[in-house]
């Protein structure tokens, strides 16, 4: 009698564990490079990379072709939960994944950084904004491929002043990330000869009505309203600014963390006149148009933005380094793979020629864009006009200011 009961309980426990088994039995091939794309496929950052980032990675693998070893791409959704992300990362690395890619959301991005270091594997972050990845928490196993808060602040703050927006007012989310964005941007605005007319902090994450802050910002007569926030808050402030007709009165709205899919979602009617920074725009030059065209069958109606196409660029460079050093050698040490990546120059259609710095920072130019008005736009996804370019070597935080332990002073 008790046997059947135990059996039943054991069976119920066993059933919940079933999905675990096939993963463990998968054989690990010595001549296969496995890339794990870990990102948000169901939450707030899905449209920025998510499934599109995965497709960009696959495109890079397809373009790289067969150089004598197999390449496998696996993906997972970290659901923006650090513990889920860490768990998957550990499991992947332990079960033979050679490199983890993407990882948006700073808390998850930094957590995976520690796992990669502990396991001595390669890690390329293209999705997080935290500049700590190449600063206080930099690691010899990590390359930070795309944007960070410093680069966004420098381009939007500094280049904007050069483009004529010399007085600023900030609407800031009242938490560490918002403060950091406002502080950094203020520094660049002042350094470029602009002035900050004032700022207002709003409670985070409980604010959805930005009207009083927008009115306050307008009353300051500043030429630029800086939105030191992210995600839904940025979208809400832009929508409400459009309702108030802020931009029609000649005031520029500068979003400090914003991507092409966000503009697409808002529509040009609402987003027109918005100023933002990206490192990639599909219609920037012949090479970016070419790569976007090649990606078309995979992305369907969507155009890549800097976060999703960074996966393409990073994968291509990573595979070059692997081909250069050999699969067997690459399996023994993640640090060596990253060192090889730093040693060979980068060049691809998405970001052009570039290099990776000692502290793990990939260098590429940043562009200050203004969103077109519906009248200026000639077709689908024709959204940006270029205002200013910050060259690659100047776009990011100088190495000696980051406090990275890898930098020899």
């Amino acid at each position: 009698m008790s046997l059947t009961r135990r059996g039943l309980i054991a069976a119920s426990v066993g059933t919940t564990m079933m999905p675990a088994l096939p993963r463990l039995s998968r054989a690990q091939a010595a001549n296969t490079i496995r890339i794990g794309v870990l990102n948000d496929q169901s939450g707030a950052y899905r449209d920025i990379s998510g499934p599109y980032g995965v497709e960009c990675t696959r495109q890079a693998v397809a373009e790289f072709g067969n150089k004598g070893f197999n390449i496998e791409v696996i993906t997972a959704d970290h659901q923006n939960k650090p513990d889920v992300g860490v768990n998957i990362a550990r499991q992947w690395y332990d079960q033979g994944v050679d490199m983890i890619l993407d990882v948006p959301t700073s808390s998850v991005g930094l957590a995976v950084n520690n796992v990669a270091r502990e396991k001595n594997k390669a890690y390329i972050n293209t999705g997080s904004a935290t500049s700590d990845l190449t600063g206080a928490q930099c690691s010899p196993n990590t390359v930070h491929w795309m944007y960070d808060t410093y680069m966004l602040a420098k381009s939007t703050g500094g280049a904007m002043v050069k483009a004529g927006g010399d007085s600023w007012f900030f609407i800031t989310a009242d938490y560490a990330f918002g403060h950091a964005l406002e502080r950094d941007t203020t520094t660049f605005v002042r350094a470029a000869g602009g002035r900050v007319a004032g700022s207002v902090k709003y409670p985070f994450p409980a604010t959805s009505d930005f009207s009083s802050f927008l009115v306050q910002a307008q009353a300051s007569r500043a030429k630029v309203i800086g939105l030191a926030n992210a995600g839904a808050d940025t979208i809400n402030s832009i929508k409400q600014a459009a309702e108030f007709g802020v931009t029609r009165r000649g005031v520029k709205l500068a979003a400090l963390l914003m991507f092409l899919p966000d503009v697409h979602a808002l529509g040009l009617q609402t987003a027109q006149g918005l100023v933002l920074t990206e490192s990639f725009y599909w219609d920037l030059n012949d090479r970016t148009r070419a790569v976007s065209e090649r990606l078309r069958p995979r992305l369907k109606d969507v155009r890549p933005n800097m976060a999703s196409i960074a996966n393409y660029s990073a994968t291509l460079h990573y595979l070059k380094a692997i081909a250069d050093m050999g699969v067997a050698a690459s399996k023994t040490s993640g640090v060596e793979v990253i060192n090889r990546m730093k040693a060979i120059p980068c060049d691809d259609d998405a970001f052009g020629a570039g290099r990776i710095r000692e502290d793990g920072r990939k260098l590429c130019p940043s562009y200050l864009f203004e969103v077109k008005s519906p009248a200026e736009s000639k077709g689908a996804w024709d959204y940006y006009k270029l205002l200013q370019t910050t060259p690659a070597e100047e776009a990011f935080r100088p190495m000696n200011e980051g406090g990275c332990s890898l930098v020899r002073s």
Partner: protein
Amino acid sequence: MAADTTSITASALPDPAQEAGGAWGFTRAQLGALGVLIVFLAVAPFMLYPVFLMKLLCFALFACAFNLLIGYVGLLSFGHAAYFGMGGYLAGHAAKVWGLTPELAIIVGAVTAGLLGTIAGWIAIRRQGIYFAMITLALAQMVYFFCVQAPFTGGEDGIQAIPRGSLFGVIPLDQDMTMYWLVAGIFLGAFLLIHRIIHSPYGQVLKSIRENEPRATSLGYRTDDYKLLAFILSATIAGTAGATKSIVFGIATLTDVHWSMSGEVVLMTLVGGLGTVFGPVIGAAVIVTMQNYLAEMGAWVTVIQGVIFVTCVLAFRRGLVGEIAAMLKVKL
């Protein structure tokens, strides 16, 4: 706390262990299930990924702590993430900044959660039903906003790179297996503690409060004192779970104090079976396994989770374990 009356009532009640032929307060079926659980704990790390198992155990413990309150006192706390998360933050801070050994860090986390639970419980137990749930939610949101702002939590980034350190300063925990045995030990210890609480004379009074509070008051029990103590115990155990989790993963982040975590623990307990000893463990196992192994299916994770929840609520009102127990006519 009315100790005399307690013991009298307890002896007057039939001993559940004797009536079912079990031992140590367990019925025979529970003993069997406990045996399976212990065997599982011993064998599982050799078959499954140990870090995943550790996460599972931390959440199972969290769900058990929550179940102590809702299953046995009938209080629906909708703010348990606050104790889970703060336990994690404080343990992480203690291990990383103060350099404490892991066992001390976990104790710091548990005690913090307990203190927080004392304050929150003292306020919340004055009301019942939906008002109780709302007060606990409101207090938990205050804790969340505190964590967003406080400098030591690292805001969005959380506390990163918390060292696992060495147990008692001598046994290094860097190996996943060593860490696993510690977590399994903590889990089993706390699980048995909860069982002991439920089956103590004190636990009997809690159940009587759940069934009929005015009658318990009329019998001379100060029900507020009993409820407060249950709340503190539950918060402390939740804090222990959170603290252990942050030591295992080396991170403590806002996810753990967010209200959705409070919702998740309700989900785990409901799926497993409210008011059963083993239900929360199974519920946590189901939810954590889904989050982990369905992660490859991308956006479908949340959809599948929703479908399973709806199915459970519609088809297995008593939860998985509750239904099995009802089918076999035993207590689990």
